[in-house]
Amino acid sequence: MITIKELPDENLFTAGHTACPGCGVAMSIRNAIRVLGKDTSVYVPASCAVVFGTTFPYGAWKVPFFHTAFENTGACITGMQAAFEKKGKKVTAVGFAGDGGTYDIGLQSMSGAAERNEDVIYICLDNEAYMNTGIQRSGGTPFGAWTTTTPVGTKVQGNRRFKKNLGEIVAAHEIPYYATLSIGHPLDFIRKVEKAKNIKGFRFLHMFTPCIPGWKMDPAKTVEVTKRAVESGMWTLYEVENGEKKITFKPGKMKSVRDYLMMQGRFRHMSDEDIKKLQMWVCKKWNLHYKEKGAPEVCEIVPPEEHHAVTEEHREMHGP
């Protein structure tokens, strides 16, 4: 397995790109492409990454790069890979799409490629909203978050829906590899990219990528916020290999979701009631996720006897 010290120093995504200072997307792309290496051909749909990585007339990529529209990452990398195979080239097509381009508009195209088990790597850079067009809510936006389309007013404060469980949707295609990654956990990050690189078939890497203006946060805290996300259960690190799910990092003790929320302006308006709602949702997820067979409930923030309330509330909001 490749270690951090063995990673090549050469930047395949060069400096001078125009991402905001502290951008989690830029940080993830840069490290992912270092592991993927030169025999990679990249596709990026409409998103921040296409703007800051290829601001005309310049380009940051040192590997072949392709861009067309917003909704077609799955289809484009399928076609690129087919061409490489026809020409006998040993190249892997890799798509780097945003959460809008994956959870929402690109879902059908991604699903098609996954279902056909195309021999490609699909990377979702999840910054939890449509950032490039000025912070609109997506299916990946968490409960309570402010965006320009889920404003904070007197009647409603922020997003009312919970983050869509994309991992389950992708894994349901029974693909060879799905993994969640966080740049705050670089060893786990590098291991998963390296693993995906060496598997055949459809591989999906789901990266948690903080956004400075979209999350209204201090640019110096990008890494810290991803660590808080994992410690609180807002983001979980796992992989599903041929249907088998494995937790790759379990935080020692569950931290309150409030610590994570208060680092970011997009959540700072949240009422105690809303924070509790979100905490309950996280507790439920945490228990499902980390509970080994027969082990006691692990969530320590909300007592187990209150967990049925979560289910009730969930039903009220989403139907049975």
Partner: protein, 86 residues
């Protein structure tokens, strides 16, 4: 109608953008405190923290945007953010 197609043909040409001009705080590395762990180099979103021949690390100020991540993450507190021009 004349169709004009323009492409970006030079790989890595963003290096023409000297993003160091964006910075208001600059990271200053203190080698006396540094343990050469390389964490700063991994996390820099610009990829401009480089390893020197003596094993220590220094940023390329032509491109460093002054985000402060390296200083926030350095386990030895060997990096300080200093106001530009001071």
């Amino acid at each position: 109608m004349k169709l004009v197609i323009k492409t970006v043909t030079k790989p890595g040409s963003t290096r023409a953008n000297k993003t160091g001009a964006w910075r208001s705080f600059m990271p200053v590395f203190d080698h006396k405190l540094c343990s050469k762990c390389g964490i700063c180099a991994i996390y820099c979103p610009e990829g401009v923290v480089y390893k020197l021949e003596n094993g220590f690390f220094e940023p390329d100020y032509e491109y460093c945007k002054g985000c402060g991540i390296c200083a926030n993450e350095c386990p030895k507190k060997a990096i300080k953010m200093v106001l530009e021009g001071k």
